[in-house]
Amino acid sequence: MLSGAVVSDEQLVARCRQGDEQAWAELVRRFSRYVYAIVAKGYRLSDADAEDVFQEVFARVYTRLDTLRDDAAVRAWIGQLTRHLATDRLRLASNRESATAQLPDRGASDAALEQIEIALDLHDAMRGLPDNCRDILDRFFARDQSYQTIAEDLAIPSGTIASRISRCLTKLRSELEGR
């Protein structure tokens, strides 16, 4: 795996263009949560539709990477592509089941999409944290794992989990202050 802490989005795109499969795997890993959040939380697509759109997004990114004019803008490009394909999918579902399917409340969806953008900024900031902090924050908040599960998986006393999370949150706040 490439080190996410040292490879910028721009560098990652350049490597993908050169056919570096490890870089591609890292690009998918880096943006998978973003695409997933947009389709599942922003647009609230069904699981099947969300998966289709998720795969279509990465298929298009893979085949059209050469058309990206600014490599540093890959995140915005992927976000736009995902929103475009998710909207198409909703329209399709709406046409298919006009009596039951509805476009989501635009206000709610826009608010959710805005929150996802901020969340991704925050997630990017986590790259500046030590691995153990990234891991424990991700497990507790994003993966919703219990103290017990985290303690078992990481082989650390469960009584120390809360204080570790608190320390890591403090580090993350410090990281954010530098941005």
Binding site: L122, D138, R173
Partner: protein
């Protein structure tokens, strides 16, 4: 970035759960899948018989190449065989 308190940070972290592992894995395998698809299409274009055989059972052709015959992959193969690259 705005100055978030810890509860806001916690809420934002929760807003980006991981995508299902299988979805991520499938997307990461795209280069290998594309290469296998290229091989399949190239072989199908060697003769009329090969092309017809492939078109007759797209799913079987994909499986023989080690590819899961997901609807999107089947559609991609058909498009490629019909000269409409995806």
């Amino acid at each position: 970035m705005p100055d978030f308190d810890e509860s806001q940070i916690a809420r934002l972290l929760a807003a980006l759960p991981p995508a299902p592992d299988a979805w991520v894995h499938a997307a990461q395998q795209l280069p290998a899948a594309r290469a296998a698809l290229d091989t399949l299409v190239a072989r199908a274009e060697t003769s009329v018989e090969a092309r017809e055989s492939t078109l007759r059972d797209l799913e079987a052709a994909l499986e023989a190449e080690g590819l899961a015959p997901e609807p999107a992959v089947v559609a991609e193969l058909l498009a490629r065989l019909n000269g409409r690259a995806g």
